[in-house]
Symmetry: C2
Subunit: 168 residues, 2 copies
DNA sequence: CCTTAACTTCACAAATTTCTGAAAGAAGCG
DNA sequence: CGCTTCTTTCAGAAATTTGTGAAGTTAAGG
């Protein structure tokens, strides 16, 4: 049970409360399809005061190996949910949740949607646009195209809403 | 290689084209987090002319056991992506994609969102609304609440859009 | 009622995924 | 340049998930 004094900040936070949140939140992400380690790492970052942690801190807090941290972080960076930064003049890397950047990523299932659309388009042509099945696929495709446009507009509105509510 | 003459309809469909679509589409769903069997079953239903298939037909087309069909269908029904119907006077059950009903369900990640929100709310109070971490969680929570409202409005607009484009 | 057709549940084998320890690979610092 | 500190990669052990066969359950039809 070693505690790392990582942040120079004064107020000690209740590590148990943090852990409870992290695990609970991660469990929801897992249920929604995310892998366990990425989910936990992401939770830990969200719940950190600085919004960023080093690899060692993550390993310590979550009781996982450096290898596990590495894998989780690679995934999270790939889907743009965290960014990596190197403190200049150190081999230590920090991983950060970028305030806004990340829920942009959450909605950036766009890549996913695009591939659904491709599959559907292919289906429409190969089954025939004039068959009942083809028509069903076409309608589904139309739905996704609709959603894609709408989500974009929604994020625009969110940025405005956010500005008003949280300043900055 | 046995073909079932299931639909009384005349035009034979190319089973290979259907299969190609089903597997491709299912693969995308899997990548997005859905289990393989539910994804394949759902694909098969989407690609069927009647929009409905019996358990036996699904097993035949996808080359899976009745048990697998049962499990997949149970899941799909639970999340309202298909509905089950019994042809009156028969033990045979049919599973159907309900045209509209199902993408309502897709957006009905609402249940999921609700639980994310709960976890976040808990986090805000337990970490303290006045801490940096607490503020970050609160903002994230606000985002989800925003999305929830927006999605509802979006679906309303879709119904209108759909009506215009596909009649009925 | 009894038979039989259909669906479901359950225990287990197989396949897949997940995480680790160990070794290899970068990059600051002397 | 070599040493040291951190991160990544890789092979494999452990755990989990997935799909099956077989037994169990339900309900139609004689």
């Amino acid at each position: 049970m070693v505690r790392i004094m990582a942040e120079p900040s004064g107020t000690a936070r209740d590590p148990e409360a943090v852990s409870r949140f992290v695990e609970h939140f991660a469990a929801q992400l897992v249920e929604a399809g995310m892998q366990r380690m990425p989910a936990r790492v992401f939770g830990a970052l969200l719940a950190s005061d600085a919004g960023a942690l080093t690899s060692a801190q993550l390993g310590e807090q979550l009781q996982i190996s450096p290898a596990a941290v590495s894998g989780a972080v690679r995934y999270l960076a790939q889907v743009h949910m965290v960014s990596r930064e190197r403190e200049p003049g150190s081999r230590r890397e920090r991983y950060r949740v970028h305030g806004d950047q990340w829920y942009e990523a959450l909605t950036n299932r766009e890549a996913v949607i695009k591939r659904w659309e491709d599959a559907l388009r292919e289906g429409v042509t190969s089954l025939g646009a004039d068959t009942p099945a083809g028509r069903r696929l076409a309608e589904t495709l139309a739905f996704f195209e609709f959603v894609e446009k709408e989500v974009e507009a929604m994020m625009e509105r969110w940025r405005v809403h956010r500005e008003k509510r949280f300043g900055q």
